[in-house]
Structure formats: structure tokens, C-alpha cells
């Protein structure tokens, strides 16, 4: 009897201790999640972008955080595996108020979840299907909680097609120019395909059947031979930099004369270095008003933020890094608005994104382009800068050196302003 009472008392004590231990300590910080790809198929561009987000968050915390509260973030490298992203999200839901995400496949997978849980999701996927907050357009689903900084893939592709049409006229081309979409059978390259092909037809191109090549580096001689045989003048490369390098090299060897059009993630300084002269003459869009070597008032802040992970200040940051910092700073200013208007919750952050028009975060003038989000239209940016890459083959050297020597040159050739057409929303 005595033993039983002792045992009961012991159980009660243990239970009390456990419940004390699991009492949630009220968190003073703001919890956000960060999904990145540092090791998967898109790691070549995911690395710089993820670094940009992490540095921006570290800088925000160094300056005191948002409304006096630090941003507590957890960076998860999900290797572009959708199931891993979803289980990470499940771990986070109920805890985080916003997420800095990454890829197309998982962003689209998580749309339903973030809408239900009311968590703003800032993706690095610029798929047009994420731009319709109210639903009803060709996007087929409402995405009120998905935000991204940059022109959508479809809009960027349309911009490139428009430039191609102008370029054909400028060169005095006769007859119908031929356009072909090249990419993997994957949500990311597929995203702008239909929209770009439709716009190309509208502008008088003859649209050829698309050519497929995988998202991984490989030997694409066969695809290049087909490309050459097809006689296309303008080819849109839909994959990320890694596989674009392979196909550019293969096509250079085979001797294909084509104007290659890159996408936002498909051509950057690292790709130019790796592809060498094969990347010469590629035209690609840039989301920010300046690249790392540009002169703009906002670059001072960018260099400050870059010092968070590179105290020496000598690292060369690719264009993706700058876009990532912009995206994070937009989130921060929306949070500041929310803190002043009812508390930092997912819903208020979303309202905070709608609070300003033609808005650049403080300190980034000349780098982040003015963007506007509204409750009916999440196409924040309809302007893109087009650059031409001029690259020579050279011995291996750090990118900063190659750019300084002129081996890698990026020249801005056009700024395209797209009309905000209602029928273009969502696709």
C-alpha cells in the first residue's frame, strides 16, 4: 500500500516536471522558415540565392530586427526534393509567420497548404500560376499568399520574344523568323512555354516544336544537331545554368548559328565562366537594375549585406544574390507595416505587401526595381533589363578577376516594359 502510494506520487511528480518542461516559452523573436537548395539539381543557382537570403536576415538582425524583434529563421536544404519540402513545411506550420522558399515544383505543391494556413510564401519561383491572388484567370487556382520579386517566367519570356522580334527587324530579316523552346519536361522550364509560344505567334514568329534536354549536365549533341537542322533563329533555353552550359558547349562544337535567349536562372556569371566562349552572345534577363559591378546608390547596402558572410568584401555576388536580398527586404518592410498595424501575423504581412505602390526597400534605390502587389494582381514587376554576355575562353581565375579583366562582359542592351494585360494574368 505504501509502495503503491510512493509509486503514484512519483508518477505525479514526473508528470508535473514534464508538463513544466514542455510549457512553451513565449518567443520574443519572429519565426520564419527558409527553404534552400544547396545540394540538389538547382544548387548552382540555389546556392547564391540562399546565401543572399541568409545574409539579408543576418543583416536585419544586426540592425535590431523588425520592430525590435529578431528574425528567428531555420534554413533547410531540401535538395529540390518535393517530399522533403512538404515534410519540412509540416514541421513549421503553426510556428512560422512567413517562409522564404525556393523552387517551382515545391512552391506549387505548397500553394494549398500556405493558403489554408495563411502563411505568406516568398518563392524564388516566378511561375505565372502564382500571380493570381483571386483566382478565375488561366492560373486555375487562387494564390493569395504567394509572392515573389521579379518578372514572372512567362512575362520574362514574353519580354525576350519581344526583343527578338525587334532584333529580327533591326537585322533586316526577311520572312518569318523561327522560334523554338528548349528545356526539360519539368514544371520549371515548362512554366513559360505556352505563354511565350503564343506571344511569339502573335508577333509573327513561326513556332517550331520544342526540343527537350534534361535539367542535369550531359551530352546534348543530338539536340543541337536537331536544332541546327530546324533552322531556328531564336532559341529559348528554359533550364537552369548547369544544363544550359552543356547544351551551349555542345551547340558550339556542332556549329549551330542561333541567338540563344536565356531565362532568369539560366545564365549568370558562374555559368559564363564555366561555359567559356560557348556562352558568348547569349541574351538573358536580369531582375535588378544593377549587377554587382554596377554603380547605384543601393549597391552600398548590398556590399554591407555581403560582408555578413564575407568580411573581406572581395566576394563576387551573382545577380541571384541581389534578387534574394531584395526579396528578403520586401518581406521585412511588409512585416514592419504589420507590426504597426495589428501585429506580425501571416495575414497582416500579406496586407503589408499591398500597402505601398512602386516600392523599393529603403536603401536599395537603383538596385531593386520598383514593385507593386495588389489584392487582384501579384505581378509585381513588369520591367526587365536584358543583358548580352560577351565571354572569351580564358584560364581559370576567380570571377571578380575575369570580370575586371574583361574576359566576362555583361552589357545591358535593352530595358523592356511589358503592358499589364489582364488576359496575361496567371499564365
Amino acid at each position: 500500500m505504501y509502495v503503491k502510494r510512493m509509486r503514484a506520487g512519483g508518477v505525479l511528480a514526473v508528470g508535473a516536471l514534464l508538463s513544466l518542461a514542455t510549457t512553451v516559452v513565449v518567443a520574443q523573436g519572429i519565426s520564419i522558415g527558409h527553404l534552400a537548395d544547396f545540394s540538389g539539381p538547382t544548387a548552382d543557382v540555389g546556392g547564391p540565392y540562399g546565401q543572399g537570403v541568409a545574409d539579408a536576415i543576418a543583416y536585419i538582425n544586426k540592425q535590431g530586427g523588425v520592430a525590435g524583434r529578431k528574425l528567428e529563421h531555420e534554413t533547410v536544404d531540401y535538395s529540390y526534393q518535393v517530399p522533403r519540402a512538404i515534410s519540412t513545411y509540416k514541421n513549421w506550420s503553426g510556428r512560422v509567420v512567413a517562409i522564404q522558399g525556393w523552387g517551382t515544383a515545391d512552391t506549387e505543391a505548397l500553394v494549398g497548404f500556405v493558403t489554408k494556413d495563411k502563411i505568406p510564401y516568398f518563392s524564388a519561383s516566378y511561375a505565372a500560376t502564382l500571380t493570381d491572388p483571386a483566382g478565375g484567370s488561366k492560373a486555375d487556382k487562387a494564390t493569395p499568399y504567394n509572392f515573389f520579386y521579379g518578372p514572372s517566367y512567362s512575362d520574362a519570356a514574353r519580354g525576350l520574344v519581344q526583343w527578338a522580334a525587334d532584333d529580327w527587324k533591326r537585322k533586316g530579316g526577311q520572312g518569318k523568323p523561327k522560334y523554338v523552346h528548349m528545356g526539360a519536361n519539368h514544371p520549371y522550364p515548362n512554366s513559360p512555354k505556352a505563354a511565350a509560344e503564343e506571344y511569339a505567334r502573335e508577333l509573327g514568329f513561326e513556332v517550331l516544336p520544342p526540343i527537350q534536354f534534361a535539367l542535369t549536365p550531359g551530352d546534348y549533341t543530338a539536340q543541337c544537331l536537331t536544332l541546327r537542322q530546324s533552322g531556328a533563329q531564336y532559341a529559348y533555353l528554359g533550364n537552369t545554368a548547369g544544363s544550359n552550359i552543356s547544351i551551349l558547349k555542345a551547340c558550339q562544337t556542332v556549329g549551330v548559328q542561333v541567338q540563344f535567349l536565356g531565362n532568369v536562372w539560366g545564365m549568370d556569371e558562374n555559368a559564363m565562366k564555366a561555359a567559356g566562349s560557348a556562352a558568348n552572345n547569349v541574351v538573358y534577363p536580369v531582375r535588378t537594375s544593377a549587377i554587382w559591378t554596377g554603380k547605384a546608390p543601393g549597391m552600398a547596402l548590398m556590399r554591407e549585406i555581403s560582408k555578413m558572410s564575407d568580411p573581406s568584401g572581395t566576394a563576387y555576388r551573382a545577380s541571384h544574390y541581389l534578387a534574394a536580398v531584395c526579396a528578403t527586404l520586401y518581406m521585412k518592410e511588409a512585416m514592419e507595416w504589420a507590426a504597426a498595424n495589428g501585429g506580425v501575423t501571416g495575414e497582416n504581412i500579406r496586407k503589408g505587401m499591398y500597402a505601398r505602390q512602386n516600392w523599393t526597400p529603403k536603401g536599395t534605390e537603383g538596385v531593386c526595381k520598383p514593385s507593386t502587389w495588389t489584392a487582384q494582381d501579384h505581378r509585381s514587376l513588369l520591367q526587365l533589363d536584358l543583358y548580352r554576355a560577351e565571354v572569351k575562353d580564358a584560364p581559370d581565375a576567380p570571377i571578380a578577376e575575369l570580370v575586371a579583366k574583361g574576359t566576362i562582359q555583361m552589357t545591358r542592351i535593352a530595358t523592356i516594359d511589358l503592358p499589364r494585360k489582364k488576359e496575361w494574368l496567371g499564365w
Binding site: S39, V82, I86, N91, A105, A109, P187
Partner: protein, 358 residues
């Protein structure tokens, strides 16, 4: 009387077939099993969200791994394409519940049956191959089916994947991991009991005979084609059920999750656990699910220290995880080819017979 509930007799004194085929040879082992299940019922109260998600993972992966063990461990076949059967079950269940509006409660067993059909289709030609050729054929099947998933937009949503509804019983929506855990627990108990029972029926013994010496089995009148095909079908059924549970747990099914590495992880689960052992399957699955988490935990503990800087752990943790999976497979096969189940039996025998050696 009390002393015999935990002891086995020293010799075979069974007097009926029933007592020979009993699943739990001593009353204590039955008690442990029941106690384990009851303890698991209380798990959601004690564990957090994270621990619960691990248990659910062990559940549905364990069911699929058991199917593979029936195929590989009990029938002696080889399959390097188990992940696509798992994936087929997931897509089928999502398809049934989304497009055909079958309630999820029924969609899961139906998905299992659909996957069985696919498994039989692959099993019939595969039953004619042996050893290495079977392995290569299943490897090819893995790539072909994965390509099919990516292309068949009407069934899988193509490369974009498809959303799966959440589980519901008679209108009551089983929302959240907390309640889904019980669904998975019920399925695990049922499927494992079914497998244990299978192994003591005539069919189960035929499967083992096919594995041990197929020529003699054929001479005794066991139809090799029938049992090899049946074994493929069974493996596919278990994989389909596991996949369906996975689909409704995650809420989204996408094709890139079912790659060759996933198939290899299933093989690793049963090899580490012990080929031909049902309890071993669960042990192997637990090991494989907990291994990446332990590595992640270790990396977090070491982050910031000198080892971290030297090995650049924080960037390389994903690679270290994969390296550990590969290394664990190799080490287990070199040092413990019979798996954890065998090691467990050795440990138990050591304690039982102490101080005598085994």
C-alpha cells in the same frame, strides 16, 4: 507455472500442428507485443509533432519494406524497382479519391489492389528470370515507370504532381498527424499480422521452398511461376498500401520522390533488418528512418566547432547523410550480413544463457 511463461522448452515437444505454428511461442512475447502496441497508442500524447511524424514514416515505409522482404527475403527474388510500386500506390490512391470520388477510406485498399495488378504484370515476365537478370530487369522497370509517371498527366498530374485529399472516416475528417497516426498504426498491425500468418500457411512455406532450392521445390510439385508471380503481386500490394498511406499523409504526390535512391533505401531497410525476418523489417525501417535524423542532430550539435569547420559539415550535411547510407549498407553487409534481427537474437540468447556461451 510462472517460471515457464518466459522459457522455451529444451527440445521439440509439440503435439499438434496448431501449437507448432504458433506466432508467439511464449506468453511473455505475446505480452510484450500487446504492451508495445498499447504503448504506441499513447505515443501522440508524449511525443511532439516531430517524433510523431517519424513514427508515421516508419509505419508506411515499414509496410512497403515488408512487401519487399516477402519478395526478396522469403522468395529469393530481387527487385531494385520497389519505389515505383510505392509511387504507383500513392498516385492511384490520389487518383481514386480525386477523380473518381472514392472515399479515402476505400481508396487506400483499392490503390493496393491496383498496384497488385501492376505488380502481377511485371511479375509474370520477371518470374522467368533469375538472379542478376531479374535485378537488371527491375532496374529498367524503375526507370520506365518513373518516366511513365512523368508523362502520364491524366493519372499523375505529370511533372507537376497531384494533391491528395486527407483521410476521412464516414464524414469525420481525420485531420492532422495526431489522428492519422492511429490510422497508420491500425494498418501496420493488420499488415504485419497478415504477413506473419502468410508465412505459416502452405503458400508461405512454398515461397520459402522456392527460395531455398527451387529445383527440389519444382520436383515436389510447387508451381514456380505461380509462386514467383504471386510474390511479386504481394510485394506490390504492400507497397501500394504503403504508398497510399504516404500520399494522404503528405497531401501531395510528386514523381521525383520515387527515384532509384528510394528503391535502394527499401533494399537497405530489409538487408539491415534481416532478410526473411518480419520483425527485422520493422527494425531495419526504424534504423533507416532514424539514421538521417541522428546525423542531422549530430551535425547541429557539432556546428560551430572545429570539426564543423574542418569538414564543412553544415554545407555538406546532405552529402554526409547519403554517404552514411551507402557506408551503412556496405558495413552491414560485410560485418552483419544477417541483419539486425540476427544480432537481436544473438543478444537475447546471450542474456538467456549467461554465463554459458551460445
Amino acid at each position: 507455472m510462472a517460471s515457464t511463461i518466459a522459457l522455451r522448452p529444451c527440445g521439440d515437444f509439440k503435439t499438434s500442428y496448431g501449437s507448432d505454428q504458433i506466432v508467439f511461442p511464449t506468453r511473455l512475447s505475446l505480452a510484450f507485443c500487446i504492451f508495445g502496441i498499447v504503448a504506441l497508442c499513447f505515443a501522440p500524447l508524449v511525443l511532439g509533432k516531430y517524433g510523431l511524424s517519424l513514427l508515421v514514416q516508419i509505419g508506411y515505409l515499414g509496410i512497403a519494406a515488408l512487401g519487399l522482404n516477402i519478395l526478396v527475403g522469403f522468395t529469393g527474388q530481387i527487385s531494385i524497382g520497389h519505389a515505383v510500386f510505392f509511387g504507383f500506390g500513392a498516385f492511384a490512391s490520389a487518383y481514386f479519391s480525386n477523380k473518381l470520388n472514392v472515399p479515402v477510406f476505400f481508396a487506400i485498399p483499392l490503390a493496393g489492389l491496383a498496384t497488385t495488378a501492376v505488380g502481377l504484370v511485371f511479375g509474370i515476365p520477371a518470374a522467368r528470370l533469375k538472379g542478376l537478370y531479374l535485378a537488371i530487369a527491375t532496374l529498367a522497370a524503375q526507370f520506365i515507370l518513373q518516366d511513365f509517371f512523368a508523362r502520364a498527366g491524366w493519372f499523375t498530374g505529370g511533372v507537376a504532381g497531384t494533391a491528395a485529399k486527407s483521410f476521412s472516416i464516414f464524414g469525420h475528417d481525420v485531420a492532422g498527424d495526431y489522428q492519422y497516426f492511429y490510422v497508420v498504426l491500425v494498418y501496420v498491425v493488420l499488415m504485419y499480422l497478415a504477413a506473419t500468418n502468410l508465412m505459416r500457411t502452405r503458400d508461405g512455406r512454398s515461397l520459402v521452398a522456392v527460395r531455398d532450392h527451387y529445383l527440389s521445390a519444382e520436383m515436389m510439385g510447387i508451381n514456380l511461376m505461380k509462386y514467383r508471380t504471386m510474390s511479386f503481386g504481394l510485394a506490390a500490394f504492400y507497397a501500394g498500401i504503403g504508398g497510399a498511406l504516404y500520399a494522404h499523409y503528405l497531401g501531395f504526390v510528386s514523381v521525383e520522390g520515387f527515384d532509384i535512391l528510394f528503391s535502394i533505401q527499401f533494399l537497405a531497410m530489409i538487408i539491415i533488418g534481416g532478410l526473411g525476418s518480419i520483425m527485422g523489417t520493422l527494425m531495419g525501417t526504424t534504423f533507416m528512418v532514424l539514421l538521417p535524423e541522428v546525423m542531422g542532430g549530430l551535425a547541429k550539435m557539432l556546428s560551430g566547432s572545429a570539426i564543423d569547420r574542418m569538414l564543412s559539415l553544415s554545407e555538406g550535411i546532405v552529402f554526409l547523410r547519403e554517404m552514411t547510407i551507402g557506408a551503412v549498407i556496405v558495413l552491414f553487409l560485410v560485418f552483419e550480413p544477417d541483419g539486425l534481427a540476427h544480432r537481436w537474437r544473438q543478444i537475447r540468447a546471450y542474456w538467456k544463457l549467461y554465463p554459458f556461451s551460445h
